[in-house]
Point group: C2
Chain length 228, copies 2
């Protein structure tokens, strides 16, 4: 008896595969937003039927998780590679966080997906990256869990907010005018009931999301420093 050659011999040039499906899904998501990804649109783009797609992918959740992982894997791989080549743990954490932020900026749907499913592989990747650097930071073992998950929660929280905001304006306007519109609405709130939000509204249109994000990371890093 011969060992079965499990090597997939190219059946056809245009054969379906999980990878091709995921890439097509990402293309749709990037081009037309989260709402545009349907199995019909996907089947049309791949010139096949929805049944064929289900042969390779369990369901829509799995498809979204795979697409998200595809994007996040790039980020974590790139950053952990940098981390090896002599950077402080703080710098590595900042780089990882910014990598995730930029990925969400480029693919807003990733933000929504990350904050929706805590046990998907992409989230685990980020936790591993953050956790490793927290260890390198010299945080005592019992505190590592809380420190790493705090960083994770912050990243995912802002990810979700930013993504939802991006989904919100999408086509109609650019980000600045959208923020200006929100600020205008907030400025009209009751000064007695919402003094702080009104104050925020004044600086909202000019603020830089990236800087805000990094400031939050630095805040938590400073907090971790004080525990160490």
């Amino acid at each position: 008896m011969r060992l079965m050659t499990k090597i997939r011999t190219e059946r056809r040039a245009d054969a379906l595969s999980k990878e091709r499906i995921v890439e097509a899904a990402i293309a749709i998501l990037d081009q037309d937003g989260e709402g545009a990804l349907t199995f019909r649109a996907l089947a049309a783009r791949l010139a096949t039927g929805s049944g064929a797609i289900y042969w390779h992918v369990a369901d829509k959740q799995a498809l979204l998780a795979a697409a998200t992982d595809h994007v996040i894997a790039r980020v974590t791989a790139l950053v952990t590679a940098k981390a090896v080549s002599g950077a402080t743990p703080q710098e590595a954490i900042r780089a990882l966080a910014l990598g995730v932020f930029d990925a969400i900026d480029a693919h807003p749907w990733v933000g929504g997906q990350l904050s929706r499913d805590p046990f998907q592989y992409a989230v685990l990747r980020i936790l591993e990256g953050v956790g490793g650097q927290v260890q390198a930071l010299g945080v005592p073992q019992q505190a590592q869990f809380n420190a790493a998950t705090a960083l994770m929660s912050f990243i995912l929280g802002l990810a979700g907010q930013y993504a939802a905001g991006a989904e919100f304006h999408a086509r109609d306007m650019d980000r600045t005018t959208a923020l200006r519109a929100v600020a205008a609405k907030w400025a009209q709130l009751d000064p007695i009931e919402h003094p702080f939000v009104r104050q925020v509204a004044a600086v909202l249109p000019e603020h830089d999301d990236r800087e805000q994000f990094l400031a939050g990371i630095d805040l938590i890093l400073a907090g971790i420093e004080s525990v160490r």
Copy 2:
């Protein structure tokens, strides 16, 4: 000509109203989870048709936002009342954060909704509560925005994660056994690629979400302290 008496005279005892609809929605969400809230189920519970509901509510998003606000308004009102009666800003922030956490624990769907729409009124309420205490903390004006939104993002991030996790097990098992299952899966990961997650898996089943949440808040508060 006489001024129109715009006072709504009770049309019928069982008249529909936005409030009754929101309360029924909350009942369904609490009882059977986020997926169970449909306009058909809502209409059945209220003994009416879906068209009648649309007369009072714009769409499903508005309904979920109203339901979320209904829950969160209670929390912020309660906590800001406490804050007035002499508590340190730190204590007030902890109380507010824990209030939100407990609300999500009691109504997991609130977590999902909060992290999905950044401009809904409930989020604004939390931001106002947090921001007011950040001011009271003596944080310089330029840093207040970053400090408050960092706390917000952390709260919403963990809210989303916790809610998604709660939705995940829901009926089948309680939280501890669900965590044990996840921990078991994580423990089987490649030790080279995922050392930190494997370490986390060991403590995952015994950890207390509430404590973890509070630890994160304290970490950020410590970070804010160092900036002050």
